[in-house]
Amino acid sequence: MGDAAAQPHPEADEAGRLDADAVARTLAGEAAAFDLLIERYQRRAVAVAYRLLGNIEDAMDVCQDAYIRAFRSLGTLQQPERFGAWLMRIVSNLSLNHRRGRRRTLSLTTDDESGGIHEDQVSQRSQRAGAAPGDAMQSAEAGRAIDAAIAALPDPQRLALILFAVEGIPQREVAEILECSIEMVKWNVFQARKALRTALAEYLQE
């Protein structure tokens, strides 16, 4: 487990080569090359921002800002094959900043904090989770409980949890994004899960 970073990752290596090529071409003045980078990572970037912010418009604004900041600093990127991790780090940081700013400036209702969850979203979640309609976890209350529990986590734990346990990004990539060791990712994910198991105990019973 601990040597996951040292194991070969052909797909990741190939993606890294493609990224490095796109970065080099962008730096050489080929505007279309950056479009490739946008298309390659936009879904993951928006998904992570959305799960951190709970609002799709905010998530898209943050991601657009992240792309522009990445473009602006592209010449400083030391490892162009790591563009994806670098971009996701920018997205994560901007999302956390946006969230802090929102908390400071707005008087949030519970729905605002959870990103304005609607009943259809709750139903969609339940279907993805394989739960039958009417289960406790399908309720808006349960959804808000999850939002509140995740919101209460320290930033490193919340980020690690969102990236790995929610978004399904491999731990090796999460470690690159968060600029920490894989062991630290595992530890943060575990601490987050343990806190959620306690906070959501009533929703996790049979």
Binding site: M1, T26, L27, A28, G29, A31, F34, D35, I38, E39, Q42, R43, V46, A47, Y50, R51, G54, I56, M60, C63, Q64, Y67, I68, F71, R72, L74, G75, T76, G115, Q121, Q124, R125, S126, R128, A129, G130, A131, M137, I146, I150, L161, A165, V166, G168, Q171, K186, V189, F190, R193, K194, L196, R197, L200, A201, Y203, L204, Q205, E206
Partner: protein, 255 residues
Amino acid sequence: MNEKTDHLEQLLSRLPDGDLTPAEHATVRRALADDPGLAAVAKQYERLHLRLRAYRPLPGDVDWRAFSTRVADGVEDEWAEQASSDLDRAIDPAVAGATAPVASGPRLNPVAESYRGVEDALQDWARPLPQVDWAAFHARVSDAVRAEAASARAGQPVRGLRRWVTPVAAAAAVALVVWGLRLARPPTAGPGGSTETVILVALDLPTSGGQITFSFDETPAAGARAVEPPAGGAGIAVGPRHDELEDIDDAAYFY
């Protein structure tokens, strides 16, 4: 919870991830066999895993094409914005290639090219003057001036001051340019080892069609003073240094 049970709980929490090693799997199996109560904990983590995988699914109606276009437009705007502030870097191809895409973006290319033209001109400016047969050039100019002067004396009156102001100003500008160029290289040693030089600009009389011919000559100071003023022509002489320009004997050089 002690360290051992904490480690065991961590393994239980990772069961749904499917990334336990065979040894870790064996540890979990033994623990579950020894303590049936742990199965409930494992079940809770499995449910939590499913709930987290379903957490905040992206809305299904996201227009990704519109989003990528929006981001690309933002990047394009950034490109243009950077272009205006980073043109200095764009002048230097090495810096431009190493630091930013702003040096050669589609919108920037024409601007960057124009700056490269300026750069080329500056490099030309710094180059040494080409070899010129100044004596031959002066002779040619003097001949032309004399010819024009003769023509003027034959009945073509000079048409007022305006006829002179522009050519003299032009000649002065040329003289200053040449003077500046001369500063970029050591002065030419004149006769007798003198390094003091002046630039002589000879200006022909305007032709009847308004065409002006002027020329400049690099001549050691002593030589310049020996130049016989062409009848009917005009000339400006300046030294290679500002103080020489101020100390110059206008009567000798402006004729």
